[in-house]
Amino acid sequence: MTGQPLLEIKDLRVNYKVYGGLLEVIAGVNFVVYPGERVGLVGETGCGKTSTMKAILRILPMPPAQIAGGEIYFKGQDILKMSHNQLYKVRGNGISMIFQDPTAALNPVFTVGQQMEAVLKNALFDGKKLGKRQIKSDALQALKEVSLADPERLLKSYPVQLSGGMRQRVCIAMALSTQPEMLIADEPGTSLDVTIQDQVLRLLHNLVLEKNTSVILITHTLGVVRETTDRVYVMYAGNMVESAPTKQLFDRPSHPYTQGLMEAVPRLTGGGVAEGIPGRIPDYLSPPTGCRFHPRCPHVMDICRQQKPPAYQIDDGHQVACFLYDSKEGSRK
């Protein structure tokens, strides 16, 4: 990808201040999304995926969270320095987000129609707000696009009257109704069944291709990333450990963590399940020194305990934060 990035995160640091100390939940994350690109963000529970995304929209709960450093540029402007009004516009038309659990994301006491109209009422189209009639028809149109049957009736329904898959479709419709330039989808299929997840992801995939929306897909299911993204970032304990074009990451996972993660996925072809990665995700109160993955790493070297590895470029667009790829330290390629 070339040209100006749509979103660029530079050395983002987020701490959570809790009883007992300071948790360094995000420790210097770099992240880029180009226009029209679909980017995956993979990692285990508690590795900071969602915190990073929430920082982009500035919806991190502060306190306890505090942004300790870094910049987040959206179309060249630093989101972290924006005024309330500017931020309002970004949230209205720039970036939309779909959450993991559609049941929690929708307000149970308002109808689907009321909630969709509230979103459209606050968004600007070509710098202007929409009229009442336009809002109604746009809401209807958005529901039609996510292939929901009988959208008129749906607008008058409450979230409890819908199934899980329908609720997630409503959330997608709501997120896309303002024609955002970027969509953040936080585990959009995880709370759904396999067949419904397949439907929802396929729908999302087709819609963003059609509208040329950039997407950040957060997930811990590697299979989903492989099928729907162009480029992938792998995150571990608040650090980006690897980033590569999707095909390359799956053909040649290079960071020991990525390799462990890939091996741990049970295969449809059978042959047993790999042991996985020994140990557990570190305690953020006293994270390991140097590379945060070193206590679990099968290739640990002395330098890993002392220094944090920089990102090494090992191929076109393929970066790995691991000393194994240092020309001086690395013995293994």
Partner: protein, 325 residues
């Protein structure tokens, strides 16, 4: 091999309300509606299905949480529920369960020693408990010091290992695993699964393995059954099940799985585009309950519920497409 557990036309209906004020016409949910299968000695039998398909209800009827509405469950030829409706003590000891979420299935106010002690106190009152607990922890490869820890001090994976140790405490021969790893990360899942497989070999255990993760199922189960709206659609030996799925629902499920390699991609059946959602079990569609979502729907499917057909080699399927001669 002999069957350890035999389900014969198992039914479990729930009454969720009444259609009229006089409470004469109950509204029932047919959570499990005539399910028959056998689990053999020493095998891992897989049960797959979407949420609401009734797979957990089958498990809970086996463990004694629900009494079946109809049909029977036999443990080594002996009926699980005696005349007065109770399960005899010696059968309770033989059948154990590991739940999905170890966070809520372990008592947060008890330490690991207390958690493992209760089944021992009931089923082996004369045994040296401390010795037995140490033995259990060794079996699941947890350090002995964990005895005095509380669940909150353990990671998700370790909690699930404690839950497995608790299930092993009574020396069971049959363990129900109800989505044992779906609350855990992939990197930990492997450890739990390999532990379970090792224990199965060591103690000749039989498993009823319930999951919605078909890739995982491929690596654990020796035979697989698939459930849809309270009924079994297809049963087959695992290799056969994944290579030659017969039921359109099985094909739909298999083609929906996101996979990580080209090799697996080739194994998936030709894309059966999934559509529709599992209907509410209150209003089960007439005829074959899958006909609303089925790409191969025929006229007969709307009216007649298909019978289970044996295709040979233990592969049975419940669909009007078969036998296709």
């Amino acid at each position: 091999m002999n069957p350890i557990l035999t389900y014969k036309a198992l039914k479990k209906y729930f009454t969720i309300g009444h259609k009229d004020l006089m409470k004469k016409e109950p509204i029932t949910v047919k959570a499990v509606d005539g399910v028959s299968f056998e689990v053999l000695e020493g095998e891992a039998f897989g049960l797959v299905g979407e949420s609401g398909s009734g797979k957990s209800t089958v498990a809970y009827a086996t463990i004694g949480m629900y009494r079946p509405t109809g049909g029977s469950i036999e443990f080594r030829g002996e009926n699980l529920y005696s005349q007065d409706g109770d399960r005899p003590q010696h059968i309770k000891k033989e059948i154990q369960i590991v739940f999905q979420d170890p966070g809520s299935s372990l008592n947060p106010r008890q330490n690991i020693k207390q958690i493992l002690e209760l089944p021992l106190r009931i089923h082996q009152p004369r045994a040296n408990r401390l010795e037995k607990i140490a033995e259990l922890l060794e079996m699941v490869e947890l350090p002995l010091g964990y005895m005095h820890k509380y669940p909150r001090a353990l990671s998700g994976g370790e909690k699930q290992i404690v839950a497995i140790a608790r299930a092993l405490a009574t020396d069971p021969s049959f363990i129900i695993l109800d989505e044992p790893t779906s609350a855990l990360d992939v990197s930990i899942q492997g450890k739990i699964i390999n532990l379970l497989i090792r224990l199965q070999r060591e103690f000749n255990l039989s498993y009823l393995f319930i999951t919605h993760d078909l890739s995982l199922m491929r690596n654990v189960a020796s035979r697989v059954a698939i459930m849809y709206l309270g009924k079994i659609c297809e049963v087959a030996e695992a290799g056969e099940f994944f290579q030659h799925p017969k039921h359109p629902y099985t094909q739909m499920l298999l083609s929906s799985i996101p996979v990580v390699s080209e090799e697996e991609e080739r194994l998936k059946p030709e894309k059966v585009v999934s559509r529709g959602e599992i209907p509410s079990p209150v209003n089960i569609p007439s005829g074959c309950s899958f006909h609303l979502r089925c790409p191969y729907k025929m006229d007969v499917c709307v009216n007649v519920d298909p019978e289970m057909i044996d295709l040979g080699d233990g592969h049975t399927v419940r669909c009007h497409l078969y036998p296709d001669d």
